[in-house]
Amino acid sequence: MTVTRQRDQLPGAAGRADRGVRPRDPRGRRPGAGTMAAFISPALILFILFVLVPVLFAAYTAFFRWNGLGGFPTDFVGLENFQTMLQDKVFLADLWRILLITILSIAVQLPMAFGLAMLLHQNFPGRTAFRLLFFVPYILTEAVTAVLFRLIFSPRRGFADAVLSGFGIDGIGWLSDRNLVIFVIFGILTWKFFGFHMILYLAGRQSIPEELYEAAKVDGATGKQLFRHITLPLMGPTLRITVFLSVIGTVQLFDLVYVLTKGGPFHASETLAITMYEQGFVRNQIGYASALSIAMFLLSLVFALIYQRYVLGRDLQGALTSSDGGRS
């Protein structure tokens, strides 16, 4: 029972809401097997060839030492790639950076998005314009954004240095300082993604019925109390889902960081996906790179399961199902 429940609560498996409800079949004519196959097969073939086979192949290859040539891997090494991984300083530092960016996101980026959402929920002239503007970074391509920020933070003649020189501060090695680079990247991630979270918060806030506030006000609740006892609890599902999305996004981060720094200097800004890319496509260590990609998958999966069970599990009808029909 628990196993199936967990599976049903994965973000993808939307089946749970309508389990047991038999869809209304058209009485009478039912399409023949040939017609059904014609409807199903394009998606199924595409999915098997380009999703299932590659994923299974990655899981298989992770147990071999292989340079990617000659059809299939043959040099079976058991768990060696995974053992190597656990001793790989770069891999361990990747995990640390995932944690760091997650903590920073929860401490800085999400509260900022939340605050702006609460602000933009108020009735002010021009709030639509601000809402539209704050979403703009999210619609821009990550790789293109990264090129722009490379120029902004480029050494000596970059825009960021020019701004600071106005305050009498000399050039800073934004992307070349090992200790600084990850924070600069976090700043850029915030620029890129806070608007997305803000829109989700706005939607969550707008779904709270105004009657609740009116009733509480009649009972003499102050603004602070309204926020603590109505807004915050009822925004719970949205808050929890944005933390989830933020973590999953961090685990899989590639485009932005790869174009900005290629993971450098000296791996100081490397992400799990960049380590995998470098091992696989630059060093041709396909087996080891596959093990890394499996680690990334397991990391997302384990996090998703734990989070679903202990955090999202509380939300009977969470934000997960909101696009099913605008509930929540």
Binding site: L10, G12, A13, A14, D18, P23, R24, R27, R29, R30, T35, M36, F39, P42, A43, L44, L46, F47, L49, F50, V51, A58, G68, L119, L120, Q122, F124, F134, V136, P137, I139, L140, T141, A143, V144, V147, R150, L151, S154, R157, F159, A162, V163, W191, F196, A203, I241, L245, I248, D255, V259, Y277, G280, F281, A289, S293, F297, L301, S323, G325
Partner: protein, 280 residues
């Protein structure tokens, strides 16, 4: 209105506009830097980084626009995005129709299989995908980008479409059947037109996903013929490392299509992208 409430309102308004102003500066500065920087020459960028261009140079933008590379990459990006969208929406709609409207053995299992695809981040599969595409000789071909993108777009598209198709009352289908429409006609002429809003949502998701995609084109398209804009921008920066102004013009032009699309379809874009977010 008492003096007190008027003052409170003034304070509230001021607070709002200060915060909104700070947010605006934060968001707009990098984009304005690209836009204005494209109108400067390199000397101005060094010596007058913060001010307006003086004089305004249109040369950088004109150079990029006069060079065929930008247009070819723009065409490639648009072409790959449109074909990807068409394939993923068509294939997903067909199978979602079957999932939503017909009973057959193994239906739930098959659906779960597709839905489980949501759990696989694309990055996990990119290495074996490369090897498979190399075996099929699909490297440096647009199909090598289109088909995997469409395949990875299937799970979310199927989930969204299926739940929408289920909400269409059975009576509609019964009426169509009585009028002699078979499953094909019902699907093409009744179900799809009725589902226009949700088709728009999933199309936006697929379009934007393909337009922004970087890792797969990076791996698959090593020759310039089919390279897309995100690849083009990063390479342009490598080639013109010393001509920052020109790179800024290229960056700005590469951002422009998305900005224009956003200006015209802002509602569909926001609802599409956030529905993808809450699902993914």
């Amino acid at each position: 209105m008492s003096v007190n409430t008027a003052r409170a309102k003034l304070l509230r308004n001021t607070g709002f506009y200060i915060a909104a102003f700070l947010g605006t500066v934060f968001v707009a500065t990098p984009i304005l830097f690209a836009l204005l920087g494209g109108f400067k020459d390199n000397q101005q960028l060094r010596e007058n980084a913060l001010g307006l261009p003086n004089p305004w140079h249109v040369g950088n933008y004109l150079d990029v626009l006069a060079d065929g590379t930008f247009w070819r990459q723009l065409f490639n990006s648009v072409f790959i995005a449109l074909v990807t969208t068409f394939i993923v929406v068509a294939a997903a709609a067909a199978v979602a129709y079957v999932f939503a409207r017909f009973q057959f053995r193994g239906r739930e299992g098959l659906f779960t299989l597709f839905a489980a695809g949501m759990m696989f981040p694309f990055t996990v599969a990119v290495l074996p995908l490369f090897i498979i595409l190399r075996t099929f000789e699909m490297l440096n071909s647009p199909l090598g980008v289109i088909l995997p993108q469409a395949a990875f777009g299937l799970p979310l598209t199927i989930i969204i479409l299926r739940s929408f198709f289920r909400q269409i009352p059975g009576e509609v289908e019964e009426a169509a059947t009585i009028d002699g429409a078979g499953p094909w006609r019902f699907f093409l002429q009744i179900l799809l037109p009725m589902s226009r809003p949700v088709i728009a949502t999933v199309s936006v998701l697929a379009l934007v996903g393909s337009w922004n995609s970087y890792l797969l084109p990076l791996v698959v398209l090593s020759k310039p013929t089919w390279q897309t804009l995100p690849l083009g921008v990063t390479q342009f920066q490598g080639e013109y490392a010393t001509e920052t102004a020109k790179v800024l013009a290229f960056v700005m032009l590469a951002m422009l299509p998305a900005l224009i699309f956003y200006a015209f379809a802002e509602r569909q874009l926001i609802s599409g992208l956030t529905s993808g977010g809450t699902k993914g």
